[in-house]
């Protein structure tokens, strides 16, 4: 059997991280729950959970000093997977109740209230992954568990940027189309919760572990 991949689940006081730890373990990873710089840097993959308000999540990440270390991982080409608000923070900014909070700005786009008749978007929805997606390999037609009120609904990546491969974007729809996932070299992020998405989610996590 191949050696188990070492994954750090970033522990900064964000909701139910236990299920993320358990789901990653069940997918075959050796998991550490931590916010220590050493643990963030010295692992095969960093898992960034996130629930609650955008501003609160950015603040909490700042409070444990994690922004800098996440940035260093990305700069060094080391894998990172963001989930839910941990996905949203990699865009330029989040707008909640009229308040703009700068994100990490890895990708262009604003996280805004979903323009849908029923919000939060809660439940199992389909996704449309791009051709060649590694994360969705073999589970392209499955449903995944979403729970969120905000999302990136416009994607305007400048494909003319030199020396940058355009990210692979997965879309979903709730009232309007929105970004459900981004695969961008070492940095991947998902609006839904693979750790709560049953067997399909488990396969996605195994797919991610295989890329590490």
């Amino acid at each position: 059997m191949a050696e188990r991949k070492k994954v750090t689940v970033l522990d900064y006081g964000s909701g139910n991280v236990r299920s993320a730890v358990r789901a990653l373990e069940a997918a075959g990873a050796e998991v550490t729950l931590s916010a220590k710089p050493d643990d963030i840097l010295n692992c095969d993959g960093l898992f960034v959970p996130g629930v609650g308000a955008y501003a609160a999540v950015m603040q909490a990440l700042n409070d444990v000093g994690a922004i800098r270390w996440i940035g260093r991982r990305i700069a060094g080409g080391r894998p990172v997977l963001g989930i839910c608000v941990g996905h949203q923070i990699f865009f330029e900014e989040g707008v909640e109740h009229g308040v703009r909070t700068p994100g990490m700005g890895e990708w262009p786009g604003t996280v805004e209230l979903l323009k849908a008749p029923v919000v939060p978007h809660m439940g199992w929805n389909t996704v449309t992954p791009p051709e060649g997606s590694k994360l969705f390999k073999g589970i392209e037609n499955e449903r995944f568990y979403f729970v969120h009120s905000y999302a990136v609904q416009e994607w305007n990546f400048d494909v003319a940027q030199p020396k940058m491969l355009p990210p692979q974007v997965t879309w979903s729809e709730h009232g309007v189309p929105f970004v459900a996932g981004v695969e961008n070299g070492p940095l991947c992020a998902l609006q839904f919760h693979p750790e709560k998405s049953g067997e399909a989610g488990a396969q996605l996590l195994r797919n991610w572990l295989e890329t590490l």
Binding site: G15, R18, S19, P120, G123, V147, S197
Partner: protein, 256 residues
């Protein structure tokens, strides 16, 4: 495509054991909530809800233990209600492994607790459990009255107005349980679902009255985003979740 209609089995848990009983073949320990949650998970449940009916708050430790054991085993959302009164209760449930908490009487008594909980953890963690019954009281505009203590105590408050207020205060969804329909097996209270749906934009979970798979599509047509039931799953055939989902799908609604 769009988000699937969620089918949610509800387990009443008393001091660590499922009460009301169940009828699964080949289940050695029918009273173990962890085993049952696993069964329902394998049978295609979209979420699991535990309702802690333990009378003594001193025995809540057992509930946290059950939640933790369940969270080890299933990878779909788990909601826990019963005895949730304050931010600390939600914090403990989340730490034990619950994804959401549901609140009922405590929110009727002190609505501000909704703001306090959702400010801390976000709207998505809090479900308002609303037990409502029909009334002739002219002061209750919708004709549906909020009750507490499992439907035994009337409050004289309008259920539709309360649902609207709770959503404005921050609850992420509303579990609407019809006290009149509950246990009748005659179907959901469709008028009640329509009345609340017309006024709130958060997801609505219909509960109370399900007697067969044919009762579910009308509840969804009336505006429910999810359906919750207990005895039809506990006492029905082992494939009841599938039967319910088939009925919903045949009526033209998406299911997982």
């Amino acid at each position: 495509m769009s988000v699937a209609i969620r089918v949610i089995p509800c387990l009443d848990v008393d001091n660590g054991r499922v009460v009301k009983g169940v009828n699964f073949e080949g289940l050695r320990d029918a009273g173990d909530p962890v085993e049952l949650a696993k069964r329902y998970n394998a049978a295609g449940a979209d979420e699991i809800t535990f309702l802690d009916v333990t009378a003594s708050s001193g025995n809540r430790e057992t509930t946290y233990d059950v939640v933790a054991k369940t969270a080890e085993e299933i990878f779909i959302p788990l909601t826990v209600g019963g005895g949730v009164r304050a931010v600390e209760d939600v914090d403990r449930l989340l730490r034990a492994g619950a994804d959401k908490a549901s609140i009922n009487t405590a929110a009727v008594d002190r609505p501000e607790v909704i703001n306090e909980i959702t400010r801390r953890f976000g709207s998505q963690v809090l479900v308002l459990s609303l037990d409502a019954r029909r009334t002739n009281d002219p002061n209750v505009a919708s004709g549906f009255e909020v009750t507490t203590h499992g439907g035994r105590t009337g409050t004289g408050r309008c259920a539709v107005a309360w649902a609207k207020e709770a959503a404005e205060r921050g609850v992420g969804e509303i579990l609407l349980n019809s006290i009149d329909a509950d246990g009748t097996k005659d179907g959901f209270d469709l008028e009640m679902i329509r009345a609340v749906r017309a006024e709130v934009t958060v997801p609505l979970i219909a509960s109370g009255g399900a007697g067969g798979p044919e009762h579910f599509p009308p509840a969804i047509a009336a505006g429910a985003d999810a359906v919750l039931a207990a005895s039809i799953f506990h006492f029905g055939p082992n494939d009841m979740i599938k039967q319910v989902k088939d009925a919903i799908r045949e009526a033209g609604f998406p299911v997982r």
